[in-house]
């Protein structure tokens, strides 16, 4: 059967048609296979055994020096890395080892799916380690609650104007947990709209709080840090310090769906780092901000007034809640059950916070 019999006149450029018998496929496949075999043999041959290039004839024109090999991105970044050198100076061998353990799952990739770059995270850790050790003088306890490999949701109280509480928990999980774990903080969607901030957050491993992001992280057995109080936690006034605000419920639902424990985390110190005296809502609305705080130093000292006071931080990890042992995944459909579980977590964190705050007050007396 020829291609004319197939109605070839209806379309130009039909060429040889597959319906015809005795096509030329076989010789072509043989040629293709021979060529592949040749190529594989060439690639496997040692460099010395490969054919030397033809030498240039004696009277060849002077072509000048050979073109230097172009640098790759990594090389260029390496040569410009004043920050990398600073990080090398600030980080100890043990810190580097911990960072290497955290970067290992990436398998040499420069970025993970959420935009985390081990290189930027290393630079950031070098700086934040100073803040962790000398500015906030962080002391922490209860690291045994952090799983070695499995995923978990860390639920913490939120306070202070800038999210240094999250930063200190991330540093603590890298510097003090055994083995070190990278904590992925779930940040507000508003932070994703901020120029530079959104890039920095992503590069150091923080993620925007979308359901898909959280689900993917839990599927990858990562530690996900949530602040169930949300924005209400950081904009509460000085008079409400260390009083936990009502919790959002999404973290309980994700815990039930993915069968991961919820680890309560109490942070003491964050609420004292920048006490909010007043929230100037009309100005916040005008600027498109979630709130506009007035503190003893902001806006009096300008942007410098946003810097946290050098308060002593305490971080405590509590016994994990494993609600999925008692409640089936379908419980996410029951708002009363979910609210009950969230309330359990809130009460436990409040107790942990109160214990430490009272101990501090007793110490001062």
């Amino acid at each position: 059967m020829s291609h004319d019999e197939l109605g070839g006149s209806e379309g130009p450029a039909l060429g040889h048609d597959p319906f015809s018998q005795g096509d030329g496929t076989l010789p072509y496949l043989i040629r293709l296979r021979e060529r592949s075999v040749r190529r594989i043999a060439q690639a496997r041959a040692p460099a010395s055994a490969r054919a030397e290039p033809e030498p240039l004839p004696q009277d060849a024109p002077d072509l000048g020096p050979p073109v230097p090999e172009l640098p790759s991105f990594d090389d260029r970044d390496e040569s410009a890395g004043a920050l990398d050198r600073l990080a090398s100076w600030l980080l100890t061998g043990a810190d580097e080892e911990r960072l290497a353990q955290i970067a290992a799952p990436l398998g040499g990739r420069l970025y993970d799916d959420f935009g985390m770059s081990p290189r930027v995270a290393r630079r950031a850790l070098a700086v934040f380690k100073l803040i962790y050790k000398y500015w906030f003088r962080v002391s922490s306890s209860g690291h045994a609650a952090i799983p070695e490999k499995e995923g978990a949701l860390l639920a913490a109280n939120h306070g202070g104007l800038l999210p240094f509480d999250a930063t200190m928990i991330v540093c603590d999980a890298i510097l003090a947990a055994r083995p070190p774990r990278l904590v992925r903080t779930v940040v507000d969607r508003w932070a994703g709209t901020l120029p530079f901030v959104n890039v920095f957050y992503a590069r150091v491993g923080q993620v925007i709080g979308t359901r898909d992001n959280v689900r993917e992280l839990l599927r990858l057995k990562q530690l996900v840090l949530v602040f169930p109080e949300g924005m209400a936690g950081i904009k509460k006034r000085a008079a409400e310090r260390y009083v936990l605000q009502p919790f959002h419920l999404g973290f309980v639902e994700e815990s039930l769906r993915h069968r991961v424990p919820i680890i309560p985390v109490a942070v003491v110190g964050a609420d004292d780092q920048a006490p909010v005296l007043w929230d100037l809502q009309p100005l916040a609305k005008l600027l498109g901000l979630p709130f506009f705080p007035i503190t003893p130093t902001f806006p009096l000292l300008g942007p410098l007034g946003l810097l946290p006071y050098p308060v002593h931080y305490e971080i405590a990890y509590g016994e994990p809640f494993r609600f999925y042992d008692e409640f089936p995944p379908e419980s996410v459909e029951d708002p009363h059950a979910v609210r009950y579980m969230a309330e359990q977590v809130r009460r436990r964190i409040q107790e942990m916070v109160d214990e430490r705050v009272l101990a501090r007050r007793a110490k001062r007396r």
Binding site: G11, A13, F114, G115, D212
Partner: protein, 325 residues
């Protein structure tokens, strides 16, 4: 044995699909449709591939081909439709992008009505999703589509065509599979299906993550979808994600303001800082989309096999696709 009709075979992905189908023992015949004269690359594949020049954008061309003797003899039972597979950023589509939507609509309607055609595989893009604020957010197939009336007309066309195919997901008797691909990288280092890379300027303070996939992996996914007979929507992406700045360098300019560069940058920064949201059509320049291919892995058995590396070459960025295994 499948008998497959493939559209837009002159595109980079179309070429890969035809080659993959040629080597697939489960495929008996490939009927390749293109708008231009027969591509030269088809010459060695004529044993199994027949080419038909056809402008799908013209209704009567499609009608006349659909009822022709040639089509009746070919008896295709599956269709792989790649309307946007050759869509390089900044390139004009002859007849305009909306013509690709109408051709998709017509083709789907014809396939639903034609008794012999059992399955339809459609290549869409992940840029049909509505991007959430953030440098790189993982999106699953359940994410809302970006119905932005003032957005990029190209993206609007992709969404329209995607919706046309979604309309036949259930109850039409056609096994409809929609694959939403990340930014496609060809062997020559070209980017396809990527609105963020259509503009050279970078938005100050933003550097969204872009997920990339090799054109060979896209072709593999299409062939897997053809054989899997699993109707649904699936994201497909490679293993690598890059910040946009690494794939396409550029500098933000403020049009119409002849200001010294640092001042222009500062103004652009202030503009972004206090703007409540991105300007129409700018979302993809600020916010990244990283599709989760988990469903494609589970349902179709898709695993990306090609690694993509970015290298600099004389100040310009070059993209290499490297075989992984």
């Amino acid at each position: 044995m499948r008998r497959v009709l493939v559209t837009h075979v002159e595109s980079a992905v179309g070429r890969r699909v035809v080659k993959a189908l040629f080597h697939d023992p489960e495929v008996a015949l490939v009927l390749a449709l293109g708008t231009e004269a027969e591509p030269t690359y088809l010459a060695p594949y004529r044993g199994k591939v027949a080419y038909q020049r056809l402008d799908l954008a013209k209704a009567r061309h499609l009608q006349s081909f659909w009822h022709s003797e040639r089509f009746a003899r070919a008896r295709p039972d599956s269709v792989i439709h790649l309307p946007f597979a050759g869509d390089a950023p900044g390139e004009r589509v002859p007849g305009g992008v909306p013509s690709l939507v109408s051709e998709t609509r017509r083709l789907v309607e014809e396939c639903v009505e034609k008794p012999g055609i059992e399955r339809f595989v459609y290549l869409s893009s992940v840029f049909v999703y509505d991007p959430e604020p953030g440098n790189g957010n993982v999106v699953s197939e359940g994410q809302l589509l970006g119905f932005d009336g003032e957005g990029d007309p190209r993206v609007r066309a992709w969404i329209d065509a995607d919706l046309v195919c979604q309309g036949e997901l259930h109850g039409s008797g056609l096994v409809m599979t929609i694959l939403r691909a990340a930014t496609i990288v060809t062997e020559a280092g070209e980017f396809l299906n990527s609105p963020p890379l259509a503009r050279r300027e970078l938005a100050v303070g933003y550097d969204p993550m872009l997920s990339v996939i090799s054109d060979r992996d896209v072709a593999r996914a299409l062939v897997l979808a053809l054989h899997a007979d699993r109707p649904g929507i699936y994201n497909i992406a490679g293993n690598e994600v890059f910040p946009r700045s690494q794939l396409w360098s550029g500098k933000r300019r403020l049009a119409g303001l002849p200001l010294p560069s640092p001042l222009g940058e500062a103004l652009a920064f202030a503009e972004r800082l206090f703007a409540r949201g991105p300007a129409p059509g700018e979302s993809f320049e600020r916010y990244g989309i990283v599709p989760s291919p988990r469903l494609a892995h589970e349902a179709l058995g898709f695993e990306p096999q090609y690694r993509i590396e970015v290298r600099s070459a004389g100040g310009r960025r070059r993209v290499d696709t490297v075989r992984c295994r």
